[in-house]
């Protein structure tokens, strides 16, 4: 029995591409990128000092990536929440699960479809951002750092899609949205606390235990962000640190995937 069903993956994209929230954020992002860029060009022309002008130009790439990444996180939450929840609310779920597919295939196909759509959103908006910069000659694009950042961001989007889909099966849309953002922030800041040595310095407490739990048992979005921001800023990392980050990421995703599968298979439809 295959783990993924291509028809279900395609169906997820087909239904979520009509999501009004996603369509709104898509156009908002494109318009914001264009207006933001126009503003940056205007400021650059207005400021005479050469070093200030260069600073604005160099910051633009990072600002665009950060802006697009943040919006993409929201988009992946919206799509992830709707992927399975809309099947439940429209009472289509019993029909789909009566097809000859396992529940694991159903979950994986829905998450994959939602992730692909989030990735398409991210890709289009990043390309749009690069193109307006490139054609206006406002900056030099560093494709290698862009590609590393892009790949690491796709893993972050996968995590967010997974978490929001998981939560949406058990709690309502708004609670899922808020909890996914809480998860994102906890996961991000637990890593920053860890690398800054805050856990070592802190006395034994509930928050320290929770922080360490988040660091070891949740996907390290903070680490992915740290690496992607580093690449974007022109830093280089040892291959081993990237390999360990990816190893931890995939182990934790598989662990939580099995927990999701275990719970969903016991769920009565």
């Amino acid at each position: 029995m295959p783990m993924l069903n291509s028809s279900l993956v395609y169906n997820t994209i087909q239904k979520e591409i009509r999501n009004k929230g996603v369509i709104f954020l898509f156009f908002l992002t494109l318009i914001s990128l264009y207006l933001g860029h126009s503003l940056a060009v205007g400021v650059k022309d207005y400021v005479d000092e050469a070093n200030m002008s260069a600073l604005i130009a160099n910051s633009t790439q990072a600002i665009i990536i950060t802006f697009v990444s943040t919006i993409s996180i929201f988009v992946s939450i919206i799509i992830g929440i709707s992927a399975i929840r809309s099947d439940q609310s429209l009472r289509v779920l019993p029909q789909i699960l009566s097809f000859p597919i396992s529940r694991l295939t159903y979950i994986l196909s829905r998450i994959t479809g939602a992730w692909i759509l989030s990735a398409i959103f991210y890709t289009i908006t990043v390309i749009f951002g690069i193109l307006i910069l490139k054609f206006s000659g406002a900056m030099k694009v560093d494709f290698l750092s862009m590609m590393m950042t892009f790949c690491l961001m796709l893993l972050s989007l996968l995590t967010i899609t997974f978490v929001s889909t998981f939560l949406s099966v058990y709690i309502n849309k708004i609670a899922s949205f808020i909890l996914t953002i809480v998860f994102y922030l906890v996961s991000k800041f637990s890593y920053y606390n860890y690398i800054n040595g805050n856990f070592e310095k802190a006395e034994f407490s509930v928050s320290k235990v929770l922080g360490l739990f988040a660091h070891y048992f949740l996907p390290r979005i903070g680490e992915l962000n740290y690496l992607s921001e580093g690449y974007l800023g022109g830093k280089t990392f040892e291959v081993s640190s990237l390999a360990f980050a990816l190893l931890h990421f995939f182990c934790v995703i598989i662990l939580w995937g099995y927990i999701f599968k275990f719970l969903f298979e016991r769920r009565e439809i």
Binding site: M1, N5, S7, L8, Y10, N11, Q14, K15, R18, S86, L90, R91, V92, P94, Q95, I96, L97, S98, F99, P100, I101, S102, T105, R266, E268, I269
Partner: protein, 238 residues
């Protein structure tokens, strides 16, 4: 050939027994009517055999194989209230079902034939949200009868249909039976079931009140009268 075998199936919801030691064997080519008042356990039974509910105990086999996603590949199911994504067209809905049933050859012809058979070909370009309840039910029937499944489970197939629709669905069921398909029909329209079914199961409060051929179950009475007596007697004894 056994299409479905269920042994001692039981299911409770927080202390309330929805299905109690239910056993049944369905043979190829049969039309079985599953009858009972609301809350009798009919939907619990159907959902349990499809794996949508987890039974407390009992064994379920399709075609001599333990029920799982693979053995269910020869089974199609029309739920009580068929629905789909409101923004999908009728044709896109059937295309999705065709994909899930792995119909690749002559897909368009099969979809068109299924729509024509149910009299909904002319609405194939309409959105699900724009069609009537009766048309939606026909689209659902077109979806589940499109694949060449050996066992078809229809939960209230006459729901929302006008007399002409009921007659057409009845004819469709007869065609399916003549094609050697096995049908399990859950319905409240006893008069139709009396004419169509080979065997009848009457359930109430999770218990089997009667099971046999239509003649064995109804005796000298009409199926409707027999059903009424059995359910009322069962309620009085409870």
């Amino acid at each position: 050939m056994e299409v479905l075998r269920v042994d001692n199936l039981s299911k409770s919801y927080s202390g309330h027994r929805a299905l109690s030691d239910f056993s049944i064997t369905l043979m190829k080519g049969e039309v079985i009517a599953l009858l009972g008042p609301n809350g009798a356990g009919k939907t619990t039974f159907v959902k349990s055999i499809l794996g949508l509910l987890k039974a407390d105990s009992g064994k379920i086999k399709f075609f001599d194989v333990e029920s799982d996603s693979v053995s269910r590949s020869k089974v199609s199911y029309l739920p009580e209230k068929f629905t789909f994504y409101p923004y999908f067209t009728v044709e896109a809905t059937l295309r999705f079902y065709a994909d899930m049933y792995k119909i690749s050859e002559n897909r368009s012809e099969i979809i068109d034939a299924a729509l024509r058979k149910l009299g909904v070909f002319e609405i194939k370009g309409k959105k699900i949200s724009d069609i009537s309840k009766g048309q939606l039910q026909r689209v659902g029937l077109a979806c589940v009868t499109m694949g060449d499944h050996e066992f078809i489970i229809l939960d209230e197939p006459f729901s929302g249909l006008d007399p002409i629709g009921i007659k057409e669905v009845k004819n469709l069921c007869v065609d399916l039976k003549n094609a050697g398909k096995t049908l399990l029909i859950n319905s409240h329209i006893l008069a139709e079931m009396e004419k169509m079914a080979d065997r009848v199961i009457i359930l109430n409060k999770g218990l089997t009140l009667a099971f046999g051929t239509v003649q064995e179950v109804k005796g000298d009475l009409s199926l409707e009268d027999k059903f009424f007596n059995l359910v009322k007697d069962g309620d009085a004894n409870a």
